[in-house]
């Protein structure tokens, strides 16, 4: 049910692409399973070259949304974000994307994600059920903020 509506609901955008290594995917999945049934969140650090982003590392962030709502909400503490971003910049990297999990919900951005979305960043969403990752997709916000479009998620060894 969820996966189907994710595909039919939004246009696929083949013009942008996010490359990640399998190690990053494994770590994001482990993170998502460890916080289940709460959402997890983190940053993807790397480089942007035109329409292609390459993440070379992921960095776990704490979910500081109020505890009772974390099953469907996350927030990254701005200070933690700022520190991570400064660290990355000092090493010649930048924040290229954000990842978070959707416990018991489809791997597509919700309306809330859209309202809070930042442009140009890739948003990786992991559908998590029974503490296991089911589907992982990457999305990018349209310039007019109206919706997210799915982009290519390439995983390398």
């Amino acid at each position: 049910m969820g996966a189907d509506s994710a595909r039919s609901g939004t246009d696929f955008n083949p013009t942008t692409e996010l490359n990640i290594s399998e190690d990053i995917l494994v770590d994001m999945h482990a993170h998502a399973s460890s916080t289940y049934p709460e959402e997890c969140c983190g940053l993807l650090l790397g480089k942007v070259r035109g329409p292609t982003k390459t993440a070379t590392e992921s960095r776990r962030m704490g979910n500081v949304f109020v505890k009772e709502e974390r099953y469907h909400r996350y927030t990254i503490d701005p200070k933690e974000f700022l520190n991570a971003e400064s660290d990355a910049e000092a090493r010649g990297l930048e924040v290229v994307g954000i990842y978070h999990s959707h416990p018991n919900a489809p791997a597509k951005p919700s309306r809330f994600d859209t309202d809070y979305g930042w442009p140009t960043l890739s948003y990786v969403v992991i559908e998590e059920r029974d503490a296991r990752p089911v589907e992982t997709n990457s999305w990018i916000l349209k310039d007019d903020r109206s919706e997210f479009v799915q982009e290519k998620l390439a995983i390398s060894k």
Binding site: M1, G2, S5, G9, E39, C41, V48, M61, F65, E69, Y71, H72, R73, Y74, T75, I76, P78, K79, F81, L82, E85, E94, V95, I98, H100, S101, H102, P103, N104, A105, P106, P109, S110, R111, F112, D113, T114, D115, Y116, G117, W118, P119, T120, L121, Y123, D130, D143, D144, R145, E147
Partner: protein
């Protein structure tokens, strides 16, 4: 003299500043500095401020290393050499709705013509335009368009639910009319779902009505249910109730349950996915056949399903809107005679044979067999016309009526003896096992059980009258009143 400050642009926004990582402006306050930034870089504005010019709630502004919320906000004074940082509060989450995450209201619009229809909804903050769009995007399945399904479907259509599915394979009977308010006298004999569809379409032409004129069973339940967001159970029998429960648990759908009997109603939302119990946590096993009479056997106050059906509809709407506290884990018991509502806390059974399992491990079963319902063919039976022939031929047959005395007063077959089903065990010695006995009730259900019971005691020559006194009145003696 204004101060010269540096505004750092986060990488995510640099494409709107010609890739500049910082911009220098002169200003007295943070607010002034930001206005200048946005004046010079208009494309940035969409992402920093909303339509009314207020900072978006996911934008944090830091002055040097301090969040301006902890200073004087946007009025905070700046001095030469200060750095202003735009820091994203990265946030998001799976669902816009606490209870149902799959409803996507972004693709539907409420048309100006509909503003008037739903005007009284639009001005409630808890509904509003977004809630009305959610209702229009939602799909609700009503199982049984009888006493409960009539009011629930009518109000759900009127309230603006986008798609209503109706399952029923019955035709409208005169005995339905005292409570099934979708139907009128001229509908007698017509299909329930077709008539309901016509009626609901009059109530709201914008609602899409889908009909399933077939019995719900283990073969079709999952296929039908999966297209809906909320399942509303308005059935009157145990096999369908268990089937509905199990299919909802497998698919992770909320099951809005209710049942009615005489003056009493119950309602609850079974939704293990949201942490609540399922029907089997409340009733692990079905009652023995015959212990709990149906409305046809025991009767029901015509007004009762009106109220209880609307409790179901209200719960469905709350789930769709993601508002309020649904009856998850709470069994609401309504008594019309005392006019009281009681609430029982129902806990999830950690060893529940259904909802404690992973959905893939749950299999739908033969629910008729699970509920101990014997096929009528298992009981020796006789058709009204056959019995009438036998009596005409002078065959000695003892007629046993197992209904209640007040039913007997309405109509009975001449020459029969009355022993209500519940008294039968105590009064069985009034029957001679050598006699040939034909048992009847209203429509054949209770008498089938009485026949089973007597055969179990060694009464060999007992048969059940198929269709009861109702069929007798239709096929043999049209002068008898029917009820």
């Amino acid at each position: 003299m204004r101060s010269l400050v540096k505004i750092m642009i986060p990488t995510a926004l640099r494409q709107y500043t010609d890739a500049k990582s910082h911009i220098d402006v002169s200003a007295d306050t943070v607010s002034q500095a930001l206005s200048k930034l946005l004046d010079e870089n208009t494309k940035l504005a969409t992402h920093i401020v909303d339509e009314s010019g207020k900072l978006r709630n996911f934008v944090n502004i830091f002055l040097n290393s301090e969040d301006i919320r902890h200073l004087d906000g946007e009025k905070t004074k700046v001095k030469d050499g200060d750095t202003i940082r735009i820091v994203p509060a990265i946030a998001g989450g799976s669902s816009d709705n606490k209870y149902i995450s799959d409803i996507d209201d972004r693709k539907v619009a409420i048309s100006p013509r509909e503003y008037r229809r739903y005007g009284r909804h639009l001005i409630i903050p808890e509904v509003g335009m977004e809630g009305q769009r959610r209702l229009k995007s939602s799909k609700v399945l009503i199982i049984g368009t009888g006493g409960l399904g009539s009011p629930s479907s009518l109000y759900l259509a009127a309230a603006g639910v986008g798609t209503l599915g109706l399952i029923d394979f019955d035709v409208i009977d005169e005995t339905n009319l005292h409570r099934q308010i979708l139907y009128t006298e001229k509908d007698i004999g017509r299909s329930k779902v077709q008539t309901a569809k016509d009626r609901l379409q009059l109530a709201n032409p914008n609602t899409v009505i889908k009909t399933f004129e077939e019995p719900l069973n283990s073969g079709n339940a999952l296929e039908i249910f999966k297209g809906y967001d909320v399942i509303v159970d308005g059935t009157d029998n145990f096999p369908t109730r268990y089937l509905t429960n199990d299919a909802c648990v497998i698919l992770g759908k909320p099951n809005v349950y209710a049942s009615i009997f005489r003056f009493e109603g119950q309602a609850m939302v079974f939704y293990p996915k949201a942490g609540g119990p399922c029907y089997r946590c409340l009733y692990p096993k079905p009652p023995p056949p015959g212990l709990v009479p149906s409305c046809a056997e025991g009767g029901v106050l015509g007004l009762l399903p009106g109220l209880v059906g609307l409790i179901q509809a209200t719960e469905a709407v709350k789930l769709i809107l993601g508002r309020g506290d649904p009856l998850i884990g709470r069994l609401l018991v309504y008594d019309a005679l005392s006019m009281t509502f009681d609430e029982l806390k129902i806990r999830k059974n950690p060893n529940c044979p259904v909802c404690s399992q992973s959905p893939e491990a749950i299999k739908l079963i033969d629910y008729e067999a699970f509920c101990g319902i014997t096929k009528e063919a298992d009981v020796a039976s006789v058709m009204p016309v056959e019995l009438s022939q036998e009596l005409k031929e002078g065959r000695k047959v003892r007629l046993l009526d197992v209904r209640e005395p007040h039913e007997w007063d309405i109509v009975h077959i001449e020459g029969s003896k009355l022993i209500p089903l519940r008294d039968l065990p105590d009064r069985v010695n009034e029957l001679d096992s050598a006699d040939e006995i034909v048992v009847y009730c209203h429509t054949g259900g209770r008498s089938a059980r009485a026949t089973d019971f007597l055969r179990g005691l060694g009464y060999k020559k007992v048969r059940n009258l198929e269709g009861g006194v109702e069929a007798w009145a239709v096929e043999v003696d049209p002068s008898l009143p029917r009820y």
